[in-house]
């Protein structure tokens, strides 16, 4: 890939609008995410931050505007194009969403064997490597319901990584966890960020966003209300809405 292509944004969102019936939840979003960038999206519930994230891998359809990943536009009508796009974009959910009928190892192996036609041996080898990376090397044969929430979420991360995505979307991935389990998941995400993975994360963990993010986006009423490096945004918020949000979060 040429240097120019590397400099191009990996995710480009242009004038994106999305409504549920008459209720417009995203009112014209413009956002570029660079390769290797870590973007944290914060905001009140109902501000549209999760919806925006879910638009990026096509879990939500939008009515206007455009969205491109790696230069390829998202086309809802084409199942082929969606399949291509989703190979580029991994997603980790608040509720883990592991497949309960499959062992941990099989959870990680399923998509690569089906979508990338890996041999079972290759896929198993890769799954072992990824589980090792998230600190769960010994859980290959465990069933998801035998794991703690934090462990399940780390398996979900390994499962997403198995598709070797260019971007990883994290949708409030620690919100369903007991407080003592949040740290182990965030450490894995931080390590990914350090290794240069492009991350878009919706989060309520302000300290984590401050520490890991290159850029923080504050969403308010379906718009990108304020953008900036974490130091700037958290220390000297410019708009009253962000000031109010930050003081509410700190309480």
């Amino acid at each position: 890939m040429s240097a120019e292509a590397l400099a191009d944004p990996i995710v480009r969102i242009t004038a994106l609008r999305k409504s549920y019936g008459t209720n417009e939840v995203l009112k014209g979003i413009d956002l570029d995410v660079k390769r290797g960038e870590v973007v944290a999206i914060i905001g009140k519930s109902g501000s549209g931050k999760s919806t925006l994230l879910r638009c990026v891998n096509g879990l939500e359809q939008f009515q206007e505007g455009s969205l491109a990943v790696n230069g390829r536009p998202l086309l809802h009508e084409s199942a082929m194009a969606m399949r291509e796009l989703r190979q580029q974009v991994g997603m980790i959910f608040q509720g883990f969403n592991l497949f309960p009928h499959l062992s941990v190892g099989r959870n990680v192996m399923l998509a690569p064997t089906l979508v990338k036609q890996r041999s079972p041996n290759q896929a198993a080898e890769q799954a072992t490597r990824l589980l090792n990376r998230v600190g769960l090397a010994d859980k290959f044969n465990a069933m998801p319901d035998q794991l703690s929430g934090g462990q399940q979420q780390r398996v979900a991360i390994a499962r997403a990584l198995a598709m070797e995505p260019a971007v990883l979307l994290c949708d409030e991935i620690t919100s369903a966890l007991d407080p003592e389990l949040v740290g182990e998941v965030l450490r894995v995400v931080e390590a990914l960020a350090d290794e240069g993975m492009t991350l878009m994360m919706v989060t309520h963990e302000m300290n984590f966003a401050r520490k890991v993010a290159d850029r923080v986006i504050f969403m308010h009423q379906g718009r990108v209300h304020e953008v900036g490096p974490p130091g700037e945004l958290f220390n000297s918020p410019r708009t009253p809405e962000l000031q109010q949000f930050l003081s509410a979060v700190r309480d």
């Binding site: 879990l59 974009v89 509720g95 969403n97 399923l110 979900a156």
Partner: protein, 215 residues
Amino acid sequence: MIEFTLWDIVRNLLLALRWTAALSAIAFIGGGLVGALLLTLRLGLGRRTQRVIGAYVQLFQGTPLLMQLFLAYFGLALLGLDVSAWAAAALALTLYTSAYLVEIWRGCVDAVPRGQWEAAKSLALSFGEQLRHVILPQAGRLAIAPTVGFLVQVIKGTALASVIGFVELTKAGGMIANASFKPFLVFGCVALLYFALCFPISLFAQHLEGKSHVR
């Protein structure tokens, strides 16, 4: 007048029981296949298909099986098709069973959390792969008990095929009762035979239900 011994009665009823079992099996296998096809269409295609299949389900659930049997037998004859009682009964019971099974199974698919679909989708699985590897294994586990339970309804439903002249257990019972003048004994035996067929299946369904709760 010929004297009917108990063995004569039971022997003839047992012979007729074969047809009840065969009709049940056809209804269940045929209904299962049609139901599975309709379920896949309903999940994979748009709103319009859903509505058409919804109407199909309502039609068969909202009318008595007896009417469906009459319509299949006499209706097809009106259209110039010469159908045997066998074929008409098999057809009506297949459609009837499929309408119930598609609804039972749809409920089981709906019971699989949305997040499972989303996780499968975001891993770039195609619709067929999502269904086959993620959704159906989970829905299938939920579906076993109600499906086996419904089988009992189908077996008892085959009794209605007697009205179009199909000689299964109930019809045979009626004929033997008329000939032997022992209606109470004969129908008692008929009831016992239905029970012998259905009870083990009910037990099996309960056993499966218990199992799925423990999980």
